[in-house]
């Protein structure tokens, strides 16, 4: 019996994992971090483009800035998608039952990812490549950018509701579609956490992008110079990161109990300390004298990377904790089921060996009886009718069955059966016996060897 009523314990896929579980988990965590990096650059970047383009209506240089940032999104969004397939494979193989169950329960929204992301990408292309053409209709152009940003803002809800739902099998029976999965605790706080991270990561990336020595600032902008750009992006990153200090505790407190552990808190605390150090560095970079170069970037980058590793690992620790008990029950059930299947197969094999049905009867009941009954029309004519026609010519049945024509209006045509003349003849004889009322009442023992079982029972 299940430990708690209402907790579904499915069976796992009864095949071995393709690699050591530790390797698969490491792969999942690493590949996911790379994927989410580009997702952040894409989402955060498109929000920054939108803000800069709107500001550009007053200060034309911000329009130039938006235009420079939008160039990076083409690359980042393509990489975000293609790099998503790796972690998708890893999560599919390691958390098969959990992931697929959550997918099915939010199925309509889940499959909408395909048209939604396609639309977001096409809108982003239209936005990027119509900058000059729509220069006279700036409102329209901004609306185009806003549309793709809006889609980028909506799509993460689908992913988050899924990877949250997969951790809580006890919730599965209570969920009715995407929106109820969205309302489970922790989804909204995590969404805010992701959004702030996106803005912070994209802003840091842009600080480096515009700060690099090769970037022709003077050529691209009239009023914006390097120190100003640096300050803009570090400030954006810092504000977003400070926001995490508010949202982070909310995420932690709204996490359901079953995944919590002191070890998890330790990992998160380490991550937070890296993050706070990065924030201090950002602050120093903002207040630094105008002329000093962007020399803290490498330290900030390293600290943020460490933060991401700690948080990505912490996320995995929580996931493993959360499903641990359930997975043990599932493994037990899978094992028991495997034994039951093997035992039933053995019994079936014994049973088949004992049945001594004559071949004609066996073929008839397995194949012909689907459409032909003794005394009435099912799909095809009755055996009585057939027997009248072929009583003296059983070979006629064999010929007809191996290559039937169409005789009767309003009836579906009979499919051809090419099981070999011998078997067909046995069936034909049996049909004539039945149709003329001379059925052998007691068949057992009559046939030498039963015809090989067809179809299903083969395996």
């Amino acid at each position: 019996m299940d430990i708690a009523a209402g907790l579904p314990i499915p069976r796992d896929i009864p095949l071995p994992l393709p690699a050591d579980p530790v390797l698969l988990q490491a792969l999942l965590v690493m590949l996911f971090l790379v994927h989410i990096l580009f997702v952040c650059l894409m989402v955060g970047g498109s929000l920054i483009v939108l803000a800069a383009e709107i500001a550009g209506r007053r200060r034309p240089d911000f329009d130039n800035l938006a235009r420079e940032v939008v160039k990076t999104i083409t690359v980042n969004k393509s990489l975000a998608v293609v790099l998503g397939v790796g972690p998708l494979l890893a999560i599919n193989v390691f958390y098969t039952v959990y992931f697929y169950s959550a997918n099915a329960l939010t199925g309509a929204a889940w499959i909408s990812i395909v048209p939604l992301v396609t639309a977001a990408f096409l809108a982003a292309y239209a936005h990027k490549y119509s900058w000059d053409r729509l220069a006279g209709a700036k409102g329209l152009h901004i609306a185009l950018g806003a549309f793709s940003s809006l889609l980028f803002l909506l799509i993460p809800f689908i992913f988050l509701s899924n990877i949250n739902l997969m951790l809580f099998p006890a919730q599965w029976p209570r969920v009715h579609g995407f929106f109820s999965a969205l309302l489970l605790p922790n989804v909204i706080p995590r969404y805010l956490h992701f959004l702030l991270a996106s803005v912070a990561i994209a802003a840091l990336f842009l600080a480096a992008y515009f700060g690099r020595p090769g970037f022709p600032v003077e050529e691209k902008f009239t009023t914006l110079d390097r120190p100003v750009l640096r300050r803009i992006f570090y400030s954006t990153a810092l504000v977003a990161s400070l926001g995490q200090l508010l949202v982070g505790p909310l995420v932690l407190l709204s996490l359901p109990r079953q995944g919590m552990s002191w070890y998890l808190l330790l990992v998160v605390a380490v991550g937070v300390s890296f993050g706070v150090s990065a924030m201090v560095m950002m602050w120093r970079e903002i207040v630094a004298p105008c002329r000093t170069p962007n020399r803290r970037f490498l330290s900030i980058f390293s600290l943020i990377t460490l933060t991401a590793f700690a948080m990505g690992y912490g996320r995995h620790v929580y996931r493993e904790n959360a499903i641990d008990d359930h997975r043990r029950l599932m493994a037990e059930k899978t094992r028991e089921y495997g034994w039951a299947v093997a035992a039933a197969q053995w019994r079936a094999a014994q049973g088949i060996a004992q049945v001594q049905m004559p071949p004609g009867e066996k073929i008839f009941s397995n194949t012909c009886a689907a459409c032909h009954a003794v005394d009435r029309v099912l799909v095809g004519p009755s055996l009585q009718e057939i027997a009248q026609l072929y009583r003296a010519d059983p070979e006629g049945i064999v010929r007809w069955a191996s290559n039937p024509g169409k005789k009767r209006q309003g009836f579906p045509q009979m499919p051809a059966f090419r099981m070999g003349e011998q078997k067909l003849r046995a069936a034909a004889d049996y049909m004539i016996q039945l149709g003329t009322g001379n059925a052998p009442a007691a068949a057992p023992g009559q046939g030498a060897a039963p015809a090989p079982a067809q179809g299903a029972q083969q395996g």
Binding site: A5, P18, V85, A104, V114, G177
Partner: protein
Amino acid sequence: MIEPVAPSSRPAREVAARMDFPIFHLDFFGNRLLIAVIASLHVLINHALAVGALPLVTLLEWRGWRRGDEGWDRLARRILFTCFVITTSLGALTGVGIWLSTSLVNPAAIGSLIRVFFWAWFFEWLVFVSEVVLILAYFLTWEGWGRRHKPLHIGLGAALSLCSWLTMAVIVAILGFQMDTGVWTIDPGFRTALLNPVYLPQLLFRTPFAMVTAGLFVLLLLFFFTARGSDLRARAVRFVSTWTLAWTPLWLVGALVYWHVVPAAMRDNLPVALGTLQFESWHVWLVRLIAAAVALLLLLALWGAAAPRRLPAVALLLPCVLSLWVLSYFERVREFVRKPDVIAVYMYSNAIRHADYALLGEQGLLAQATYTSVRDIDDGNRLEAGREMFRIACTRCHTTSGNNGVLAKLARLYGWTEWDPEALRTYLRSMHNARPFMPPVPGTDAELAALADYLIALRDQPQPLPGAQTAGVAGLAP
């Protein structure tokens, strides 16, 4: 209304579940159509706009460079732009969509395949990443770096073309393996996939097909990207027509090889002779379609090569439609051979393993199901039990009354009037013998009888069956 479905202690709620996964179900479109639409779009974009178009664009760029023709170079870039926008949006997303849709529709099958093919798919993913990186680099550096280092840029195009072809070559190996009966149980690995008898003929068929359809697509684009009556249009139409013309005989050869090798290999996979007949009738159609497409293409490409100025854009639409038809028919025949299995000799299309049948026949499908509102059938819950049976055993392919609906299928046998429960039960029990592409109905006789009663009740009063994506898995029978 379907008869009172009120299990004693719990509220009567819609329950949607399959064996071990909640059951996603589209009761109007049918689940197969979802996969078919996404996969066909993807294959078409992949074949025509990536595998075929990228080498063609590279060739165009090379020719423009050799002749120092600026207009030609700009034209090549515009064609690449179109391919770039479509492949990196709809192309990439439908590729991911194949994963998402198949794992919604048949999670047990995909979950099993991924355990065996993880590293093959992982390798394919690496090739795919390189393909995307290369197409980004190829397109985005065309104007700057690419202008200054034209030979290198053309080399980039060649590398991209190769990568694109490799992605197809890997995935075709995986597809071929799924059709290779019995290998699954003996040696499930990527090496056997490459060695399976259907692999090379498929590749030989698909490669020139991709080149030819790319030629068609680019010809169509030329009519938008060049001025009517211009010299550029005439030269470009002639060039692309020659490309198409050159690949058409190869496609014919590929089709012939496929025709000679594959039916035998595929027939061996078909469990029952009856399936062979069905397959052959489809196959004959495929051959006719291909013959018509090849003839039309040859005619058209000859026209384009000989008299490029007189080739009307409308003339291109028919071969475009025909190619699409050939491709979808090709994939459909390929898929058909798999039936009644989703994984040859391991798992039926209904996501139930062959090995499970003995146990399910003894103890019951519902008794063994994770998500079901009924386990023990009694007079009060027969129809509800039948509905659960239908949901678990039939809905991977059938709807109630929508696409590939079960009612219409049965009406073809019995008409729409009285259905005899006894006859229906007999039919369900042995259906897989008369229709070898159907899996046997799993479960006990009582469950099968409940299914028959449900189907009859459904015919009297059709009622849609919601999937887990809206109805959830509200019932977990103890």
